[in-house]
């Protein structure tokens, strides 16, 4: 049962990444990114990070939709312009990325990971909530502040753009 | 307007609108009565559903409604007045004269002309009712019948003549024979001078050329 789910999620992620790698169409790439992110959310569920999976769906779906909307706006589909975009430095990029992948795989394969079995935590969300407000309170408050600043900043930047 | 004032106004107006529409929703239990336009309260029935399920039920039509034309062909003296007055020429009459009076209409007018063809094309009719006004025997009337839609536009041409082709030919022949008899009986009248000889040549055209002032 679980192997089916794993293969399905792997196919989702690979298909998404494959489309992003090979398409020239920005909007298609954004849809493929969404597919990839949903697949990764499934992976999070498989590694017992349910809350992270839901956060991933909620925030990234919203984020990707905004990305799409901006992509459409910036490429001016309404005026009939193309939404295609090219690439350059292809060979250097290929060499570097394949090198990165090979290096990471090598490191993973030689690393001696020790896994311990932890019993499944039933009330994971409550525990995360408690640790947000105890162990990670500084990070939590900082994130809240950064979110506020980002909101105000994005609104301000977009307002300036609209005045133009 | 203040912020809280906006909110309270929004709530109040929404509430008012919602209450108004739910009243109509419950009033829909009552249906409209099938009353004629002549009833006194005809225009005061905004409450309850207003729909008339037309083919199944109808509002009564007043007796003097101006809808489909009907010709009572037995009373028609084929005077052609209706065809002449019709503004859209929707009446097509082909008369066949008869040698003698062959009947009487219901109001006592003698019948002298057969109607070989009395077609009213309701597709052209503009429902003005002038033909019914001029009809001397009041045989041409407008009826209450308003639903005469058809699949073929030619079906809108109503034919009122009852005569068959054979009868028409017979009557025509009869009248021609009568004319021939008449001609034989009377000596031929002297021919009238032809009109073209009488007519003068038209006067010369006025020679006038409007002058166009030159532009400076």
């Amino acid at each position: 049962m679980i192997i089916t789910v794993q293969i399905f999620l792997l196919m989702m992620v690979l298909a998404g990444v494959g489309i992003i790698l090979f398409t020239r169409n920005i909007v298609h790439a954004a849809y493929a990114l969404c597919l990839t992110l949903l697949g990764i959310a499934g992976v999070y569920v498989l590694v017992m990070s349910e809350l992270l999976a839901v956060v991933q769906i909620m925030l990234y779906a919203g984020g990707v939709v905004i990305l799409l909307a901006f992509g459409v706006m910036m490429t001016n589909r309404l005026r009939g312009e193309k939404v295609l975009s090219g690439s350059n430095n292809k060979w250097i990029g290929r060499i570097i990325s394949v090198g990165v992948f090979a290096g990471l795989c090598y490191l993973i394969s030689i690393s001696p990971f020790q896994t311990t079995s932890v019993e499944k935590n039933e009330d994971q969300i409550a525990q995360i909530g408690v640790s947000f407000l105890t162990d990670h309170i500084v990070a939590f408050e900082l994130i809240a502040f950064v979110l506020l600043v980002a909101l105000v900043g994005a609104a301000y930047l977009a307002k300036n753009a609209a005045d133009e | 307007m203040s912020y809280l004032g906006n909110i309270s106004q929004g709530i109040q107006t929404t509430w008012k609108g919602m209450m108004l529409s739910i009243q109509y929703f419950f009033q829909a239990r009552k249906g409209r009565k099938k009353e004629s336009v002549t009833e006194d309260n005809y225009f005061e029935k905004a409450n309850g559903t207003f729909t008339v399920q037309y083919p199944h039920e109808q509002i009564p039509v007043p007796d003097h409604g101006r809808y489909q034309l009907h010709n009572e062909i037995d009373d028609c003296i084929v005077c052609d007045k209706c065809a002449k007055v019709c503004p859209v020429d929707c009446i097509d009459i082909e008369p066949v004269r008869s040698p003698e009076v062959f009947g009487q209409t219901s109001d006592g007018t003698p019948l002298r002309i057969h109607a070989a063809k009395f077609d009213i094309d309701m597709a052209k009719c503009c429902f003005c009712g002038l033909c019914t006004v001029v009809c001397p025997t009041e045989c041409l009337t407008m009826t209450k019948e308003f639903d005469f839609s058809t699949n073929d536009i030619l079906d809108h041409n109503f034919s009122f003549s009852k005569m068959t082709d054979q009868e028409i030919a017979e009557k025509k022949q009869e009248f021609e024979d009568y004319q021939a008899d008449k001609l034989k009986a009377k000596p031929e009248l002297p021919a009238i001078k032809k009109e073209s000889d009488v007519m003068k040549k038209p006067a010369a055209k006025p020679v006038f050329k409007p002058r166009i002032p030159k532009k400076k």
């Binding site: 910036m74 990029g93 896994t115 311990t116 930047l157 | -």
Partner: protein, 103 residues
């Protein structure tokens, strides 16, 4: 969960990271570059989450949640800046952005 399974997830994370690198390095459009950055961050998050399952305090998952929230902030700000640039100079490809000022 065995070590074998864990390494599979890590390979997946490595693949995501490498593809993100390729997209960031080669694509000309700014939006594509943002997509690549997202892929790289997701690779990192997969690593964090897959290690977090062996941690009773779930620090990895909490860190990944913070990372996701920060990424969304980053994307929104980046897109607002890109929109500003595009409105000003009609350029959405990064290699054409070679001027400072209003031209």
């Amino acid at each position: 969960m065995s070590e074998q399974m864990l390494t599979y997830y890590l390979y997946l994370a490595a693949f995501l990271f490498a593809s993100g690198t390729y997209i960031v390095l080669t694509r000309r459009s700014a939006i594509f570059v943002l997509i690549g950055v997202e892929l790289m961050l997701n690779g990192a998050n997969v690593v964090l989450a897959s290690f977090s399952q062996f941690d009773p305090a779930m620090n990895g998952q909490i860190f990944a949640i913070f990372a996701v929230v920060l990424t969304v902030c980053e994307v929104s700000i980046a897109l607002a800046i890109l929109l500003n640039i595009y409105r000003k100079s009609r350029v959405s490809n990064l290699d054409e952005l070679n001027q400072i000022g209003n031209t």
